[in-house]
């Protein structure tokens, strides 16, 4: 029993992929304006420490691990411990250095700013 507890404690701290954890794609909203792409992903029950966001070579990967830690006799369960994971293709013009992520009420809000060169520009017409 005590050994068991120690084992589970050790896995809690790890961001590594856990065994036997169902992988679920979080639902997302994607918005865009002239300055950035904005992505909202629902990951209820995932704490900040268990979220990771990777942007690499035109690929954006978001993952989050949820451990419920509940005791007591289960009467019913419609959800459980999961690994949220979803991969997107993003334009190469994203300014990776300025990506900003915030976790609010279980929703990951990801701001992906466009590089200056990729922003639309209004060209002024000179009179000849």
């Amino acid at each position: 029993m005590s050994e068991n507890k120690e084992l589970s404690k050790r896995t809690e701290g790890m961001m590594e992929r856990q065994q036997n954890l169902a992988t679920v794609a979080p639902v997302v909203d994607i918005y865009e304006n002239d300055d950035e792409i904005l992505l909202h992903a629902d990951m209820p029950g995932v704490s900040k420490e268990n979220v990771s966001v990777n942007v690499d070579n035109g690929t954006l990967e978001i993952t989050g691990i949820r451990n419920l830690h509940v005791e007591g006799a289960r009467s019913w369960a419609e959800f459980g411990d999961v690994e949220y994971r979803r991969v997107f293709s993003v334009p190469q013009t994203i300014d990776v250095g300025k990506v900003d992520a915030e976790l609010k009420d279980g929703t990951l809000q990801l701001h992906l700013p466009k590089a200056e060169a990729a922003k639309p520009r209004t060209i002024e017409i000179r009179s000849a």
């Binding site: 009467s75 019913w76 959800f79 279980g106």
Partner: protein, 142 residues
């Protein structure tokens, strides 16, 4: 009104019983049970002295959530607000915006005054102590 609601709930909780025999069903395959469950998804635990309900409520702030309890009737309702900032063009919208309401009949009455509710990271945890009258009592034999 209340009684009628609980009749319906009793019907659903019978279905819940059936469902609990196959617990992992709600994830993965889109089985018909989803319709019964609806939003928000919940888990229910019995801790002996109390019931514990956890519910998935991503993007819901505590101002937009109502919890009502009467006897053994529990109702979760609220609003899923759109959090789109102005001036953005939508590419993909998978998250719902609507009002929601879900009600449950608990196996025993609870002490509504001592219920604790915590909303954290989009997960609501409700701990509802069972009413004194609903607790098991040891009877001393004379």
């Amino acid at each position: 009104m209340w009684t009628r609601m609980s009749e319906i709930d009793r019907l659903f909780s019978a279905m819940d019983l059936l469902r609990s025999s196959n617990l992992d069903r709600s994830y993965g395959e889109g089985s018909g049970w989803r319709v019964v469950g609806g939003f928000p998804k919940t888990n229910m635990y019995d801790n002996g002295d109390s019931f514990q309900v956890i519910a998935e409520l991503p993007g819901v702030s505590k101002e937009d959530l109502n919890i009502r309890i009467q006897g053994n009737y529990l109702e979760l309702s609220g609003t899923l607000k759109s959090d789109v900032p102005e001036g953005y063009k939508a590419h993909r919208v998978e998250r719902n915006t609507s009002t929601f309401s879900r009600s449950f009949t608990l196996d025993a009455e609870v002490d509504a005054d001592r219920v604790e509710a915590v909303l954290r990271n989009g997960l609501l945890t409700l701990v509802m102590p069972k009413a004194e009258s609903a607790k098991l009592k040891q009877i001393t034999i004379n």
